[in-house]
């Protein structure tokens, strides 16, 4: 039985805006990532993917605030800890984060090696510069990055190289869990592939134990992670193994999301894309019932008033809908037949 590296129980967080309004960005999210597994988080813009990532790390700087729930990283409960304490004892060693704009995460006036020295000295006071250089060089070589990069300024590197450098820096202190938030969305396909290869290498070589990968590019997610979790308006709407999630989604929202996949493969040209009409609800006043009800094809009057919880559907799958699995599948089959 593999250890659970990251466990989250009923985590809720909110933003408090300048006008003292609460925005409930993450609502009662529970998840568990086992050793050696990777979890993908999918969903449209504004559904709370990135907020969840920050919340997982205990990164509660205003306007983000912790409301309730528990976060256990490698056996250490960090819920309720001060962000500064989390930064000193947890970030980097237990959990590391690759931000969305990783390209801009490097200081343009400092060489990469100086940046690395800063990172290590923050955590290990007695480290010498020579040791740090040797360590960084060794790490860069294992990850297939040229050691010359260390002596360069960020402007001298290409976008893909910068992104891979940022990933290398984030695993310097050998964290257990790595959170990658859209690490390849600003790159072209070739650099994207290099980044993905590097992340896979990190997992396979055992440098990190688990990974959380956030993106809205579903074909990419399918190729990188073991499990996929779909979020909508701050809640989990469905979770399951990636293969089942892509080819056999249960929830109407996941179904719509999977119907918007475009890949250059034979026979996929004539497949009609399914678009989900409407916009996500305003999270300042989340709807009382199902959050997806407004945009759902199978909406019923009771959907608008009943607060639905996640239902188990076998093989570790769960979905959030008032309708039973069989009924939803029947409805999909009917739609398929109509086409």
């Amino acid at each position: 039985m593999a250890n659970t590296m990251l466990e989250v129980k009923e985590l809720s967080t909110k933003y408090i805006t300048r006008f003292r309004e609460d925005v409930y960005a993450v609502d009662r999210v529970s998840l568990a990532v086992k050793e050696g597994r990777s979890l993908g988080i999918a969903g449209e813009s504004g559904c709370g993917k990135s907020t969840l990532a920050l919340s997982l790390m205990g990164y509660y700087f205003p306007p983000l605030h912790y409301t309730s729930g528990e976060i256990i990283i490698n056996g250490k409960n960090i819920s309720g800890m001060k962000p500064d304490d989390v930064r000193k004892s947890i970030l980097g060693r237990e959990i590391a984060y690759i931000p969305q704009a990783a390209m801009n995460a490097l200081n343009p006036t400092r060489k990469i090696i100086h940046f690395i020295e800063d990172v290590i000295m923050e955590h290990e006071v007695y480290a010498t510069k020579k040791d740090i250089y040797e360590r960084a060089k060794k790490l860069f070589e294992t990850l297939g990055l040229p050691a010359e990069v260390l002596q360069k300024y960020p402007v001298e590197l290409s976008g893909g190289m910068k992104q891979r450098t940022v990933i290398a820096i984030s695993v310097l202190l050998l964290p257990k869990v790595l959170i990658a938030d859209e690490p390849s969305s600003a790159l072209d396909v070739t650099s994207q592939k290099m980044v993905i290869k590097m992340l896979r290498h990190l997992m396979e070589a055992g440098m990190i134990s688990s990974m959380i990968f956030i993106t809205h590019e579903l074909p990419l997610l399918y190729n990188v992670v073991d499990d996929i979790m779909v979020m909508y308006a701050g809640q989990i709407v469905e979770t399951g193994a990636s293969r089942e999630m892509v080819f056999d989604p249960i929830h109407p929202y996941s179904k719509g999301l999977m119907g918007s996949i475009i890949v250059p493969e034979q026979g996929l040209r004539d497949v009609k894309l399914t678009a989900i009409p409407g916009v996500p609800p305003n999270l300042k006043k989340p709807p009382a019932g199902c959050r997806f009800a407004e945009r759902c094809r199978f909406v019923r009057p009771e959907c608008l008033v009943t607060n639905v919880s996640l239902r188990q559907a076998g093989d570790g799958r769960a979905y959030r809908c008032i309708l039973p699995e069989a009924e939803l599948r029947e409805a999909y089959a009917r739609e398929e037949h109509k086409k």
């Binding site: 072209d188 074909p219 190729n223 040209r269």
Partner: protein, 270 residues
């Protein structure tokens, strides 16, 4: 009436060079292109391959260093501002970044009113204009009543991009140049945008040029695909022949780098 044998827009030996001396950089190198009426073509390439430069030349925003562009059989003449305006009635664009495509001081009503005025609707009564605007908005599933008196930045990225399509609906150009129209919005809104563009194309019989790095998107929407590498077209042909049976090594590499769903994604070759 243009016949099928005569291209609507064609480029012959178009070259664009930036800088000179040591800094000389040939962004577009001797490119030939023919665009027939009603066609959808895609220009696919990586960043820095010159696809945006060629699109700007076709739009008349950049002047070519050498080569000629023919529009409806005659050589394109956009040397004066009036002639440019006349040309832009026929060719319009949707850009990559919806957030910077609008003038932030103009309200949405005036964005749409400008389009009506440009099509010679200046003297129409107010009610007729409002009717036209709400028709355009409902075409892209936006509600005009909700948009009046709002500024573009109050909308989400997907909504802005749809408003852009509503503009095109009012302008009814012959050619639409879509420069990465969906790269900044998520996969879910992408389907909506593409659906609406294709619907618009059927409605007003428009010719579309897609500029994209997403080879999957190019395969899905276009009749003809041009693959661009370092300023040159390395391969072109019908979408099925280029994507499913690529001949050039560059095209193969590009296809290999795209994550797949039904086929195995080969991570060993980078």
């Amino acid at each position: 009436m243009t016949t099928l044998t005569q291209p609507l827009l064609s480029a012959r030996g178009v070259t664009k060079v930036f800088g000179f001396g040591r800094q000389k950089n040939t962004a577009v190198d001797n490119v030939d292109l023919d665009l027939y009426e009603g066609e959808v073509i895609s220009i696919v390439g990586e960043s820095g391959s010159g696809k945006t430069t060629i699109s700007k030349i076709l739009l008349g925003l950049l002047t070519e260093t050498s080569g000629e562009i023919y529009f409806q059989g005659a050589k394109r003449d956009i040397r004066s501002h009036a002639k440019k305006q006349e040309y832009w009635k026929n060719i319009q664009a949707i850009f990559q970044d919806p957030f910077s495509s609008y003038n932030i001081f103009n309200k949405i009503d005036s964005v749409l009113l400008d389009c009506i005025n440009m099509r010679g609707g200046r003297s129409l009564p107010r009610e007729k204009k409002v009717e036209m605007m709400s028709e355009a908005c409902s075409f892209v599933n936006l509600k005009f009543e909700e948009l009046t008196n709002k500024y573009p930045f109050e909308l989400s990225g997907g909504q802005m991009q749809r408003l852009m399509i509503a503009r095109i609906f009012l302008l009814k150009p012959k050619i639409l140049l879509a420069d990465e129209p969906t790269s900044m919005i998520d996969a879910c809104s992408r389907a909506t945008i593409l659906d609406e563009l294709m619907h618009l194309r059927r409605e007003i019989g428009m010719t579309i040029i897609f500029i994209t790095h997403d080879i999957g998107l190019a395969y899905y929407v276009s009749d003809k695909v041009y693959i661009m590498e370092k300023g040159k077209f390395v391969e072109s042909g019908s979408a099925d022949s280029v994507i499913l049976h690529p001949k050039e090594p560059y095209t193969r590499r590009l296809l290999n780098d795209v994550p797949k769903i039904y086929e195995e994604w080969d991570l060993t070759t980078v």
